[in-house]
Amino acid sequence: MLKTQISLLGIIFLAAFIQTVLVPGLWSPLRVDLLLGMVIGVIVHLGFSQGILFVLAASLLLQAFSGARPGLLPLFYLFAFVGIDILKDIIYLENVMTQVMLAAAFSAMASFSLVVFLDISLVPMETIPLVLGSVLTGCFSPLMVSLVGRVKRAYET
């Protein structure tokens, strides 16, 4: 269990590098959330008790790369984690399309709730990177889910 958690946190560092250096290097206003895919992954592969530990630790790590108020990121990811965990009894989480839709929806919800909450008036052009970021977050989520599965299989079989 410890090895799995450490490996997943290692992946989070890589994800942070992609999210804060590589993706903005391609297009400055674009962000892709890779942790959301991993949140789905831990629900599918690790279960609630292990998953919640990972989500807490990972979101606290990511807080170091954000100007968000302390606690905002862990709160959002915990909300996403619990929400998706509840949804897993209703929808088939192992389905790739479900993962894409869920991650995209949660990413879009996070962005737009922040826009509303912080009273940011975006011009139409500024919504493009937000929408594109949500779509890409969805597209990358099955990859992150399978990555979590691989890590789990590597250590816990």
């Binding site: 790369f65 108020r69 826009v115």
Partner: protein, 273 residues
């Protein structure tokens, strides 16, 4: 015999004269058209005789020599690629040179401050919050609240610091507020980030003289930012008769999406107003 020989000479001369006259009259073509089968025959013969040479020559120029051409072409392509790459690298060096020169000029212009050069390391993980991480920290003289500037103007301030990195809250972040003054009229206000690529200048009374194009600089009040650093230019002024304050939009002097090299400003609060 002698007479016959003379006649022949006369005939040759007359024939030659006729030929010359006909040539000069442009009749050569019509006359020679009858000779075309001869020329055709000559052509065919020539083709047949020279065919082996031509084939050999064609083999040499179109195949054997082409092998070299291909090799040469490959070499030239390679050289072209290298030159393109060099050109690209030169362009990069040129823009880096310009940027460093601007930084150097800025540093010499602001000799009163202790400027700490730094480079961008990473951007905020969320697109809504506008922070960046730079490659200089506590060990290089950065501390919480250290103002960060670029040669074009104010960038933000340090909100978190580690030994080798600092997190900068950009002035475009919704949580940022900078005391500022309109350079032309000395009207004071607070520049607030909007989370987008523009800023708002708040708490300026509707009765104040404010015009589009006015430059906004830091006022130095509160002691957090040095005085006189460019913040941006007023791009829009909206007055509402029912409101006390005028709505002012500013285009920041620094394009936050393009920052690379920045300076931390080491200054004493007394230097400010």
């Amino acid at each position: 015999m002698e007479r016959g020989g003379t006649n022949k000479i006369i005939l040759v001369v007359i024939a030659s004269a006729i030929v010359i006259v006909l040539l000069s009259l442009g009749q050569y073509r019509s006359l020679s058209s009858g000779l075309s089968p001869v020329r055709e025959g000559f052509f065919i013969a020539e083709r047949i005789v020279t065919a082996p040479f031509r084939i050999a020559s064609a083999l040499w120029t179109d195949y054997v020599a082409l092998v070299n051409t291909r090799r040469e072409n490959r070499e030239l392509r390679k050289q072209l690629e290298q030159l393109r790459f060099r050109h690209m690298a030169m362009q990069g060096l040129k823009s880096e040179n310009e940027r460093l020169r601007a930084m150097l000029d800025f540093k010499s212009e602001h000799g009163e401050y202790h400027l700490l050069p730094a480079h961008l390391l990473a951007q905020d993980i969320s697109v809504i919050f506008r922070t960046v991480i730079i490659d200089r920290g506590k060990r290089h003289g950065f501390a919480v609240d250290t103002p960060v500037v670029s040669p074009l103007g104010l960038v933000g301030r340090v909100i978190a610091v580690s030994p080798h990195t600092s997190q900068i809250l950009l002035i475009t972040d919704p949580n940022s507020a900078v005391p500022a003054v309109i350079e032309e009229t000395q009207v004071k206000g607070i520049v607030k980030g909007t989370g987008t690529n523009v800023l708002n200048l708040e708490y300026v009374r509707s009765t104040e003289m404010v015009e589009v194009g006015n430059m906004v600089v830091t006022s130095g009040l509160e002691g957090r930012f040095p005085k006189g650093i460019r913040v941006g230019q007023i791009s829009e002024v909206r007055r509402d008769p029912h409101k006390i304050f005028v709505m002012i939009t500013i285009s920041p002097s620094v394009q936050m999406s393009k920052i690379e090299g920045v300076f931390g400003v080491g200054f004493r609060a007394e230097d400010a107003d």
